[in-house]
């Protein structure tokens, strides 16, 4: 198995190099550079060129590229043009919000999806299964934007149960400690529930089919034949076998939530990485935007790899060639 993992990692290397080249060229195509704004209005005419020379912007592209890559290797993504601090600082702040959101979403997702998937599979063909399938179908079709807007309208504005925007109450943020923590959690309920309702659809459908498959397996017939009570058949024999592959997918689903948060973060005005990306593109803050693209791409690839490894660990029958 480790052979497979190592091979996958080796394939990653040329892909990452190609990706970094694409991102680098995209950045160099972008209009405007960082230095124009830093030149004092009264400075001599050659000042801008001198600054560019100093920053190495006049070097050949391959020198610029290798310098950029070697900086990234040391964790230095350059400075944000808008915020005038290191890119890593800017991203770090918003990353915490996105991580909180994706953890909450994943928790809600499995809280919703596991019971529904199990019930639908067990009552296969009954009305409750049909109802759950209907739910799956509706939430498979509804776009994240539409659901988020309706959630805000109904639960935040009309019913007033949850705050409509921001990631924390400013008063609570000053107080710090548990007050701040609970305020953050409270602000995250609605957005993460929205994400979970949509994201859970795939898990429900998968789990349902899984339960239906396992139900017909020989060892279940054996369990029934030796007189195991029906509820025990489900809780001990079906559940464990059906849940295994789902457990393997947790990593992948966290990553999916991570990358799909643009709309939810925008609509609920959470200061996450998605909104940071949008605002840095609008503000022509290319160092931040490029670092975010690289970050998202690498997270995506690594989490896919992790998901494959966990599935291999969980289910020894699967060996990816």
């Amino acid at each position: 198995m480790w052979k497979t993992v190592v091979r996958r990692l080796l394939i990653l290397i040329p892909q990452l190099i190609a990706l970094s080249l694409i991102v680098f060229f995209l950045a160099s195509l972008m209009p405007g550079d960082a230095l124009r704004g830093q030149v004092e209005p009264g400075a001599p005419p050659g000042e801008l060129m001198r600054l560019r020379e100093e920053a190495g912007l006049l070097d050949p592209w391959y020198q610029q590229y290798t310098r950029w890559v070697s900086h990234i290797m040391r964790g230095d993504f350059g400075r944000s043009l808008q915020h005038r601090v290191a890119v890593t600082t800017v991203i770090g702040d918003s990353m915490m919000n996105t991580i909180r959101l994706s953890i909450m979403t994943t928790i809600f997702l499995y809280l919703i999806a596991i019971p529904l998937g199990l019930i639908a599979g067990r009552k296969n063909g009954k009305w409750i299964d049909k109802t759950i399938l209907m739910y799956v179908f509706i939430f498979f079709s509804i776009p994240t934007i539409v659901l988020s807007l309706i959630m805000v309208l109904v639960f935040a504005f009309n019913l007033g149960w949850f705050p409509a925007m921001n990631s924390v109450n400013p008063v609570a943020a000053v107080a710090g400690g548990w007050t701040e923590f609970w305020s953050r959690m409270y602000h995250l309920i609605l957005p993460s529930l929205t994400g979970a309702l949509i994201g859970g659809v795939g898990v429900i459908y998968f789990l349902r089919n899984q339960v239906i498959d396992v139900q017909n397996a020989d060892f279940i017939t054996t369990a029934r034949a030796k007189g195991t009570p029906e509820h025990r058949v489900y809780s001990h024999h079906v559940l464990r076998n059906a849940l295994l592959p789902v457990a393997g997918g947790i990593g992948a689903s966290i990553a999916a939530v991570f990358s799909g948060s643009f709309f939810i973060e925008t609509i609920f005005s959470l200061n996450g990485m998605g909104t940071l990306f949008l605002s840095s593109v609008l503000g022509r803050d290319w160092p931040v935007a490029m670092a975010l693209i690289m970050f998202y791409a690498i997270t995506g690839v690594v989490s896919m790899l992790l998901a494959d490894i966990t599935i291999m660990l969980v289910d020894p029958r699967i060996r990816i060639k």
Partner: protein, 293 residues
């Protein structure tokens, strides 16, 4: 493989699956109705210039006689705007889907049929493209080239990889078909490769292509609305479903002027639901194990 030969044509199979599924039947009917209404009214009934004219006296009015869906912040009739918006969004969705599929089928057939270097290079590109977050890529490129019209936007989306999903799918299917006896038989008889690809392999992929098309259509409607909603799609002056949803980014509109965004939201949802119901039936038709015949 030979015992269970199914002689029904792909389109007959698809129609059979749709006819026996109430949801798919209603979905198909509703979808066609919406598309017809939107195109007939959008192109022949509504005067676009007149509908887009600003009217200071009728700004932000709730639904009433004369304005069945109220008016927007420029005093224009929301119903007319909604139809124009749906027209533009559907134009984009259809163009990207069909354009992407045409290029995708072409490339996929070549990759699957010839294999070798073409296939290898294309697979590398597809793998690399799969790594880049697609939404972010479009947003960045969108700041370089800012398409002003629906077709400019469509071409941008096709060019940025709207064809890759279809080409990957067709490649796998062509690889499978290429190993079957009828292809070898045809090759021995000296049929030119182009004829084998287009007249013999392609018809066998019809059902998988149609089910892929429905999936892509729903995805492209979502992509346009999403990008325009975020402000990286069509320019602000062009009506589109995403632009209508974007009104709701203003919390005053979201809360108090629901007639300005809710109809568009419902329309997007209904379109998606219809497409997915039909798509599910087509999927069954494409998969021999799930067919009801």
């Amino acid at each position: 493989m030979n015992e269970k030969v199914n002689h029904a044509s792909a389109f007959r199979l698809m129609w059979h699956e749709i006819r026996n599924d109430w949801f798919a039947l209603i979905g198909l009917f509703l979808f066609i109705t919406i598309v017809l209404v939107v195109y007939i009214f959008g192109y022949f009934v509504i005067d676009e210039a007149a509908a887009g004219r600003l009217n200071m006296f009728t700004m932000n009015q709730s639904p009433r006689a004369g304005f069945p869906l109220g008016t927007d912040d420029l005093g224009r009739c929301m119903l007319r705007q909604l139809i124009l918006a749906a027209r533009n969004s559907l134009n984009i969705a259809f163009t990207v889907t069909l354009g992407g599929a045409t290029i995708g089928i072409f490339i996929g057939l070549l990759m699957g049929f010839y294999g070798g270097h073409v296939d290898n290079v294309m697979m590398r590109i597809i793998g690399l493209w799969g790594m880049i977050p697609f939404l972010m890529l479009i947003i960045v490129i969108r700041t370089l080239i800012a398409p002003q019209t629906w077709w400019g936007f469509s071409f941008m989306m096709i060019g940025l990889g709207g064809f890759l999903m279809m080409s990957g799918m067709i490649r796998v299917m062509t690889l499978q078909q290429g190993r079957l006896d009828y292809v070898s038989a045809s090759k021995t008889m000296g049929t030119p490769n182009v004829v084998i690809m287009v007249r013999e392999v392609l018809p066998n992929l019809v059902s998988i292509i149609t089910s892929g098309l429905t999936l892509a259509l729903a995805g492209n409607i979502g992509l346009e609305t999403g990008l325009t909603f975020l402000g990286f799609g069509l320019p602000p002056g062009t009506p589109s479903l995403g632009q209508h949803l974007g009104y709701a980014r203003d919390s005053v509109v979201l809360q108090n002027r629901q007639w300005q965004w809710l109809p568009a939201a419902i329309l997007v949802f209904v379109l998606m639901l219809c497409i997915n119901f039909v798509g599910q039936a087509l999927n069954r038709a494409a998969d021999a194990r799930k067919r009801t015949v």
